[in-house]
């Protein structure tokens, strides 16, 4: 459905924040993209949407194709057009993703008009339908509400409804639940899952929360310092992660059920974009790193059928907590 | 030290036009400091035989109706411009900043102070300055006071706004949680963080003080006419606009250049130091 090849995003002060990211997402599949803050998740998604913040960031290389059709050089409003089977996106901050001076109905209608070309009562009807689709209570009433009159969870639903108005084939969700409470988060996650199945969309779900990934994704991409370092079905990632980083990450999750006072840690911090050298970006924090790791040239290797990793010495075996 | 210098210069290095502003500003300060060395004539020297001469090799900017050399007067005028600028800025800062901080730190007192500021703000600025000048009498110091009062209000407002915001900052709260008193908070947390918004404000005030002073001079109520100031030169020579247009051109140009360069400096500082305060500092012109 969506295929991304070798996408590289470069900042104006000439660092790559995303380097050579490739991925494929199929219809009806939820792919989780996890990684720490600043590793380039949002930049990847914005590159797909064609919404990279100019002039600070630009697409340096790579191509993006939708349904086999290259959309790399299309402006954003063409990428979402129904005709070519669009991409839609929901953003991290439900509080700021909606225009504060327009009603929910207006903002929905705008999107509907672009994609369905309807107007008048049909428009209103469709708007209400979309709100109902995201399980908004009193949908008809809420059309006239302003964003500030809604709670965070409701706003996130509106944002999702707007994305759905585009009748997208691919939905990109950039940390849509980070700002929400766990109880609300679980509602939104369930909603996305349901919609994905119902409309058989391809979903790229971006998060830094491994728990969320475990709950929702079919497949997981782990990102570190601008690169995809591991890709595997969700079960494999959590059971038998191959990349030392992934393993470290999983090991340092707090676990109240197996409560011990000390947690395992990964030493150090993720590098900032300008600190990334040519070699493996994780080498400085990696227990298995050797001199070779610090020079360029690590290749993507397939550990298993659909389990790949970007590491010279991937680990095997079950992770024990 | 080098680092501080670099941080200070950074906003200018990033933008060529800001560098121009800085250069003009420095040139003006240089002219003001070394005026007696630079100028070919005594700016007050009357020469009844060389009246209203157009720009020539001997009088680069021409002469006025007293036969005084316009170039020398323009150069000397930068002294007054500098004095007015520094004076107004200092006055505005020395009064506005304490008023603003006090109001923000002690809301009860602050209510009254800010109402007083509101009242002052409600007067059209130039009229306020005019009125004060007429009361105090003409003079450089009084002009500084009169214009200073105008900018005291904006400075107090900005200080008040920024201090309120700073007061709510987590690090201020953190300091309070350690037992810090008001004086400590103001000295260690509020003031240092006020420096850059105030620096920005200061450069705008400096720029607009020039326009304000020129307006007062133009209405004949600014610096005493025997002091060579750009505004006075304009006021004195405006009747010659048809006969000797250059007489108005050069002093006017100097006012524009000074205000322009300081605006550029302020703009660059603001963009660099305090993008957050853009709105608070958006409309400083009051004259």
């Amino acid at each position: 459905m969506l295929s991304v090849e070798d996408v590289t995003v470069r900042l104006a002060d000439s660092f790559n924040v995303v380097s050579g990211v490739s991925m494929r997402i199929e219809r009806g599949e939820v792919v989780g993209l996890v990684g720490e803050s600043g590793c380039g998740k949002s930049m990847t998604s914005l590159a797909i949407m064609g919404l990279l913040p100019a002039p600070q960031a630009r697409l340096q290389a790579g191509s993006i194709a939708l349904d086999g059709k290259d959309i790399t050089s299309l402006p954003p409003y063409r990428r979402v057009e129904a005709g070519c089977g669009g991409v839609a996106m929901i953003f991290q901050e439900p509080m700021t993703s909606l225009n504060p001076v327009l009603t929910i109905g207006d903002q929905l209608a705008e999107a509907i008009r672009v994609h369905d070309g309807v107007s008048g009562p049909a428009l209103r009807h469709r708007a209400q339908e979309l709100l109902e689709m995201v399980r908004m209570p009193d949908a008809a009433l809420q059309l006239g509400a302003y964003p500030h009159e809604l709670s965070g969870g409701m706003r996130q639903r509106v944002v999702i409804a707007i994305a759905l108005a585009c009748r997208p084939q691919v939905l990109i969700a950039d940390e849509p639940t980070t700002a929400l409470d766990v109880t609300v988060q679980s509602q939104i996650l369930a909603l996305i899952r349901e919609l994905c199945d119902e409309l058989s969309m391809a979903v790229l779900f971006i998060t830094h929360d491994l728990g969320v990934v475990a709950q929702l994704a079919d497949r997981v991409l782990v990102m570190y310092a601008g690169r995809i370092v591991e890709s595997a079905p969700v079960g494999t990632i959590f059971r038998e992660p191959a990349h030392p980083y992934t393993r470290g990450l999983l090991a340092c999750l707090p676990n109240p059920l197996a409560r011990g006072r000390r947690l395992q840690t990964i030493v150090g911090q993720a590098p900032r974009p300008h600190e990334i050298g040519d070699g493996c970006a994780f080498a400085a924090r990696c227990a298995y790193a050797e001199d070779a790791c610090r020079s360029p040239g690590a290749d993507w290797r397939q550990v298993d059928g659909d389990h790949g990793v970007l590491c010279r010495h991937p680990q095997s075996g079950q992770l024990v907590q | 030290m080098r680092e501080t210098l670099h941080t200070l210069l950074a906003p200018f290095l990033a933008r060529r036009i800001a560098l121009l502003g800085l250069a003009i500003t420095l040139l003006m300060i240089f002219a003001a400091l070394f005026a007696p060395i630079i100028v070919p004539y005594d700016p007050l020297e009357i020469d009844s035989l060389a009246r209203l001469s157009p720009p020539t090799g001997t009088h680069w900017f021409g002469t006025d109706h007293f036969g005084r050399d316009t170039f020398s007067r323009v150069v000397f005028g930068s002294r007054l411009a500098l004095i007015i600028g520094i004076g107004v800025v200092s006055f505005a800062l020395l009064t506005g900043v304490p008023a603003g901080i006090l109001s923000a730190m002690f809301p009860r007192v602050g209510w009254f102070v800010m109402r007083a500021v509101d009242v002052l703000m409600a007067f059209p600025a130039l009229l306020l300055a005019l009125g004060l000048i007429v009361i105090l009498g003409q003079g450089v110091l009084n002009a500084i006071l009169a214009i200073g009062v105008v900018y005291l209000t904006t400075t107090a407002r900005i200080t008040y706004g920024v201090t309120l915001r700073l007061r709510a900052e987590v690090y201020v709260e953190a300091s309070r949680s350690l037992g810090a008193g008001t004086v400590w908070l103001v000295l260690k947390h509020i003031l240092p963080n006020l420096v850059s918004p105030l620096l920005v404000q200061a450069s705008f005030v400096f720029a607009f003080a020039q326009l304000g002073a020129a307006s007062l001079d133009f209405l004949g109520l600014g610096a005493p006419p025997d002091i060579p100031s750009w505004g006075n030169m304009l006021a004195e020579s405006r009747i010659y606009i048809t006969r000797a247009p250059w007489l108005l051109f050069f002093p006017g140009l100097m006012i524009v250049l000074t205000a322009f360069s300081l605006n550029l400096v302020g703009d660059a500082l603001r963009d660099r130091l305090d993008p957050r305060f853009r709105e608070a500092l958006g409309t400083p012109r009051r004259n």
Binding site: - | V134, P224, I239, T242
Partner: protein, 488 residues
Amino acid sequence: EGTLRYATIGEPPSLDVQVGTASLASTISQHMFETLYAFDAAYDPQPMLASGEQVEDDGRTLVISLREGVPFHNGQEMTSEDVVASLTRWGEHGSRGGLLMKNAVSLEATGKYEITLKLSEPNGAWKNLLAFPNGGPVIYPASVASAAGKEPIALEDYIGTGPYRFNEWKPNRHVELVRFDDYAAVDSPADGYAGARVAELDAIRFIPVPDVGTRVSGIQAGDYDYAEFIPGDLFETLDADSAVTVHRNGAPIYGLMFMNSKDGILKENRKLRQAIQAALNKEEALRISIGPEKLWDANGSFYPKTSVWYSDSGVASFSEGDAEKARALAEESGYDGTPIKLLVSTNYQFHYDQATVFTKQLAEAGINVQLIVVDWATLLKKRAQPDQWDIFFTHHGSVPDPVLITVLNETYPGWWETTEKEALKASFTGTADIDARRNAWSDLQALIYDQVPAVKTGDVYSYNIASPALKGIGDSTVIWPHFWGVTK
């Protein structure tokens, strides 16, 4: 035909010219109000509202007959009753009324068209005083004059006999006069202010345009027809400009620096005053402040050569510009370098310019001057306080009789009052004989140069500019421009 637009330097104060002396007020109101006599081009008073006179009793009794059939703007005919009421008010409250009327024994209407004024002493200047409209005895209806008393006359009572009548005063915008169709003109050709006044224009509008550049470009652009107070330096350019006609005023004005005789360092210090006088080079000051030589005259006499009052006594001291002599005199006077406070206003550019030049000249003679630059309103207030100043700068317009010169007035700031002066002044006013009066004036002028109650700074011939379309602007000897006989 049409409306004449006159760009004035500012707003006139009250147009009640009996009380006020502002020249703009005179310019405007002379179109509305008339006096019994009016000056001709040679500054000889000629009958205007009067038709003739008889002088009896050695000049102590004046019987003046009035023209018949002269209507006021309100339609009433002017009679002796109106004249008596007007002259009475003028005598009591008019700014120059006292000069004539303080010696009045009686003033009566001795017929419908005749009045009789009896004086305790003869006054040689009587006709001049009755003819001079500035602060002078213009004739109002009796009801207006007696109702107003010492207060300025209200707008709705601006009723006179002149060729134009008051129409409206829009503050800040304009004062407008319109033609008075029933005007009764004198039956003689126009001559100076005298003779027939023919109103050709429908209206005259006096528009305040304080900025001089704007006044000039306004004439050039055709927005105004006539503009006053044009700086000397523009004279040559404007003279050459075909879009503008220039009208040089034949009656000069002159700057006056009054010395404080009541208080301060100059009080009774005649030597120091002479030192100051000796230091000044008035030519330089005039050249700088006025510019073209056509527009000034370094003339020491209080009257131009063409005047009957011209005299050269004392004028040798007029513009010596002798720093050495001044230094010596100052030393003799015991001057210790104390700054001398010179009060000057910037509202009149040439005051300030000349004061600046004089300051420089005095400094060269070792005399320190501290310029106190204020606006005109402040100056007027300050000069009444003797402790605030040593010298103040003002100017004086042309007056047809020396008795009107403020230097001679003891109550005028400066307060010059010496026995020599009193004696001379008495012999000057106490006779109607013109030669005796001229001699007395000549001595007074010499005394002024000796005692230095004030320093004359030289004659300035102001000029006004007009659009070339304006025809018939009278000869150039007038003090205030008038627009009867003018067409557009």
